[in-house]
Symmetry: C2
Subunit: 202 residues, 2 copies
């Protein structure tokens, strides 16, 4: 990729680092860098500060594996949360999505990925051992597997279920079906078959 | 848009500032923030540093109006550049594009926008007076108007040409025509008409 040699190395480095963000390519990173430089006081200075704060304060929760400024995180240390239910997610982004939906007032456990033998990701690379330990030592009654409905996700879900089999814990998973607002015509056969199979009384 | 309340205010602020970058919306800003936090040492720390450096060092060149770490900028202070030619561009991004093309070894003048009466942008809001002054005081022989071929851009080009009329300076503009690699079928009638009119001996 042809890069600009007339901008100083400082701007060049800013552009190259911005281009590593998901959603920004080399061209949009240049636009973003220029935007930052032009809006120095309004955007560049505050963003540099916010990143400095993030560097200093944000870490991984040693209990559930999410990112937060405190350890244990705000969710793990919230006494108003149902202590008997753990929602297992692949990634912090999934935890955030569930929290935005505000559909459940439980605690979480972040696996940090899915099993993927082809990519060399085995059980020891994920946050699974800690999950088994939590389920053994804490008074957990139900583990909800809120893992993506992909092949890797479901493989991981099966593995986790097997690992929890010897414990007195109910393991559930999210329902499959038609997304709210979704049109049947656009859905794949697998989803439609599952939605029919799990139909409920109207 | 519903924002996440479980992430600390520090993460929230980082997401909100990232969402102000061109090319990133609220959803991709969340992804970018999470990516930054996960790649703390590889990305967040270097990017925070690069932004700090940018805050401190990068400014506007007082001669041509581009952004750089020195004033006058590296281009304006480069003696190997043709001192008799000025390339007038709307924006720093256009200057960067021309430099990447490496098509001309001249100096630049950045207007900082286009005339747009509806948006309240008049000649005094652009870097035009400085251009007239440069053409009067420096030994400029040619001014190349490399301004976007939009209505506002061409209005601005006409205005600048009028302002330079009393000086002994040749004013030229970029050729219109078929983009290299472009297909005629996809081009608008205006471009095709211009390309025909300005046809050259093969």
């Amino acid at each position: 990729m042809a890069q600009n040699k007339v901008v100083g190395p400082e701007i060049e480095r800013l552009i190259q680092l911005l281009a590593k963000l998901p959603g920004l390519g080399p061209r949009s990173a240049r636009r973003a860098a220029l935007h930052l430089i032009k809006k120095k006081d309004l955007l560049l200075v505050p963003l540099a500060e916010a990143m400095g704060v993030a560097v200093e304060k944000i870490g991984i929760c040693s209990v559930c594996g999410t990112v937060d400024t405190s350890d244990p995180c705000a969710i793990c240390s919230d006494p108003r949360r149902d202590q008997s239910v753990l929602v297992v997610v692949e990634d912090v982004a999934d935890l955030w999505a569930l929290e935005r939906a505000a559909a459940i007032n439980a605690r979480y456990h972040v696996l940090g990925g899915t099993l993927s033998p082809l990519d060399g990701v085995g059980p020891e690379d994920l946050n699974i051992a800690a999950l088994i330990e939590r389920c053994g030592s804490e008074a957990i009654e139900e583990v909800i597997l809120a893992i993506n409905a992909t092949v890797e996700g479901q493989t991981t879900a099966h593995y986790v279920t097997d690992q929890l089999a010897h414990l007195d814990v109910k393991v559930t998973r999210l329902a499959h079906g038609v997304p709210v607002g979704g049109e049947l015509d656009y859905l794949d056969e697998g989803t439609l078959a599952q939605a029919l199979k799990a139909r409920t009384q109207f």
